[in-house]
């Protein structure tokens, strides 16, 4: 057992943190959101070329830095600290994860493109009726000659407007909630028949409703692994957002501490009031537990599936609960100014609130944990 980071990991964190401190202050971020693309693509390019860190979790043979899930956690935590609007989760963690796990010629071709900043992947898995059940898939992939024909509707696909590739879950067989028959496909995002309705999300991202209208895709678009692989990818993504939550919640606490040391009422800084001190002490306790659970989930990713799922669910359930507490109390402690768009705190609160339910709410994950471990 070892809980220390390597020098390389510390360096990765420092490099990214310094870069983001220079490029991602609150005012600059606000301007990015008003651009037509809803982001500054130069940042992504700089992460790829200037810093060369999009390869953090990839093998050296693909041009990566040889890291893994811990590197993803570090990256996500730092991105969370500036509420970055970058498709790291979708492209590197999920898309990159699918390629790493399935390997082969596709991985050899696409991973270097991710590292170079050329490929942006969006993960089209959710459906309007599906909530968090990964097997609740109606989108169909019907075999057609050597390839498939995709039909269906994918919901709230983060980063789809920017994507060069879509990673899509679709059903090749089985009935609508069966695990059997759910498969994963990596396709070109510009194929004929893909229709997008783009929109901004409340946390500053760009997303789309994606409609597949009889889209012909090649047979080698299928990424082998089925529902087992999809569950693994979503578990990896889940702990990655736990890492992001760690960054977001630290800034929610820091912002609240700064504010209560400056804001005066009744003739003194409000941070002198014990009722607020205890609330912030409780926020600190929750922030530390978010960090602990992000780490726990990350370290358990390579355990057998049942153990991994139970651990990831415990981590996400706790992170969701704690983030809810930290976010709501950050706003309450700020008072009226906290519910305006003027201060950064509200924007951290918005991202934090979306993380609460991303890849499953606390209730969903407690339920999954119970099903796996608390049989009567």
């Amino acid at each position: 057992m070892d809980f220390s980071y390597t020098e390389t990991q510390d360096m990765l964190r420092d490099t990214l943190a310094r870069f983001l401190a220079d490029t991602y202050d609150f005012e600059t971020r606000k301007k990015m959101l008003t651009r037509p693309e809803g982001r500054d693509p130069g940042i992504w390019r700089a992460l790829a070329t200037e810093l060369g860190i999009l390869g953090a979790p990839f093998a050296e043979e693909h041009g990566g830095l040889g890291g893994g899930a811990l590197e993803n956690m570090i990256m996500m935590e730092e991105l969370g600290k500036v509420i970055a609007i970058e498709p790291y989760l979708q492209t590197v963690v999920i898309g990159g994860g699918a390629l790493k796990h399935s390997g082969g010629a596709r991985a050899d071709a696409v991973i270097p493109e991710i590292i170079a900043g050329n490929a942006v992947i969006a993960f089209a898995y959710a459906e309007p009726q599906g909530r968090y059940d990964l097997a609740n898939v109606r989108t169909s992939a019907k075999a057609d000659g050597a390839g498939y024909v995709l039909s269906g509707h994918k919901a709230v696909v983060y980063a789809a407007p920017w994507a060069t590739h879509l990673l899509v879950t679709a059903r090749t067989g089985g009935s609508s909630r069966e695990r059997e028959g759910v498969e994963l496909f990596l396709i070109d995002a510009t194929l004929p028949g893909i229709v997008r309705r783009d929109y901004p999300t409340v946390d500053g991202f760009q997303a789309s409703e994606v409609y597949f209208e009889n889209v012909a895709i090649p047979g080698d678009a299928l990424v082998p692994g089925g529902i087992g692989l999809i569950e693994l990818l979503v578990d990896e993504a889940t702990v990655a957002v736990c890492g992001e939550a760690c960054g977001v919640s630290r800034k929610l606490l820091d912002g609240t501490l700064d504010y209560t040391k400056q804001r005066k009422q009744f003739g003194q800084p409000i941070g002198k009031f014990q009722v607020l001190q205890h609330r912030m002490a409780d926020m600190f306790v929750e922030v530390e537990q978010i960090a602990s659970m992000a780490l726990m989930g990350t370290l358990k990713l390579d355990t057998p599936a049942a153990e991994r799922k139970a651990a990831v669910s415990l981590a996400k359930a706790k992170v969701s609960r704690s983030l809810n507490f930290v976010g709501q109390n950050a706003i309450q402690t700020h008072g009226g100014i906290g519910i305006t768009v003027e201060l950064a705190i509200g924007h951290y609160f918005k991202r934090g609130t979306m993380i609460e339910n991303q890849f499953g709410s606390a209730d969903f994950h407690l339920g999954r944990f119970e099903d796996l471990t608390l049989a009567d």
């Binding site: 057992m1 070892d2 809980f3 220390s4 980071y5 390597t6 990991q9 811990l70 501490l257 209560t260 040391k261 941070g271 002198k272 014990q274 001190q277 205890h278 912030m280 002490a281 409780d282 600190f284 306790v285 530390e288 537990q289 960090a291 602990s292 659970m293 780490l295 726990m296 370290l299 358990k300 651990a311 415990l314 981590a315 359930a317 706790k318 407690l366 944990f369 119970e370 471990t373 608390l374 009567d376």
Partner: protein
Amino acid sequence: MHLDFSPEDLAFQQEVRTFIAENYPADLRGKQDEGDELSKEDFLSWHKVLAKKGWIAPAWPVEYGGTGWTATQKYIWSEETARADCIRLMPFGLSMVGPVIYTFGTPEQKAKFLPGILSGDVWWCQGYSEPGSGSDLASLRTKAVLDGNEYVVNGQKTWTTMAQHADWGFFLVRTNPDAKQQEGISFLLVDMKTPGITVRPIITLGGEHEVNEVWLEDVRVPVENRIYEENKGWTCAKFLLAHERTGIAGVAASKRGIEKVKTIARTELDGDKPLLANAFFKRKIAELEMDLTALEYTELRSLAGESAGKGPGPESSLLKIKGSEIQQRLTELTLEAVGHYGAPYFRGFGEGDNAHPIGPDYAHRAAPTYFNTRKTTIYGGSNEIQRNIIAKMVLGL
């Protein structure tokens, strides 16, 4: 960073398991599981086994009798002893005054007091709280006046756990009434057999006699029994409190506690199904496991920081807050799980009594344990005081 045990760690784990299986006193087996009250002899019989093996003080530096274990080995030790339900030894010598003595004591004091703590021959109690000084500990009024080579101590201490069995006590006393509160306190080691000491029992809600009032009337304490400098006792007190808080998380014991509650909930019926099938009860268990896991990894992160050279700092207040809350929730769930049979008050068997107690074994002490465990959020600095510490020392408020 990883969670794997090395081959050496796995061998150590096996060694610990075998040692416990072969050496844990037979008459103690299952005793803690039933929530029975434990006697001084119970504690001592396990203490002596560990002392003989040299495993009595894993947290101590090797030069003073520690084991030299790695952080992982210490983790394995606490996991394995909890898994086997070994009784948890009293902290007053091993976790409290021992570290104060080897950190602040003179060579003579170390030589005189540490061996007795390790062997278990000397039992310690803690003279901190007073009737008028609970959370505001630094306001304590028990005073010590120097008279030749002796302090003359007068005052009253309270909540003194195990004072009825203690050979020695460590006391915070006021040696300078004119200085700022924290700067007029000294740390004295007092032989409990010294004339002028009176110990009176306080009976708590579960019917236990754990805590006492201790009265000190003209108690004469040799000046060489003062640890560290005169009027610098608060430094020792703070050091001790931070040490006390880390051990207080009780992660491994609470893990076992959850398994016990699950067993009860699989046995108790709710309709025609086990209680564990009740969605509400099941959710409470899941939430407890979730919070305990968060605590466990917070403690592991903190231990990693310690082995990297950072001592237990004010963030250990976090471990105290969450650890104590979880211990309380466990007892609450147990009491809920046993249903009707939480009510009968079982006082233990009298001599030659062969009557069977009322209700299932696991129910006998559910309520007394629940009542008793309310102490955890109060002692060691109440959880409200821990929040003050976090606010001031960590958050800079």
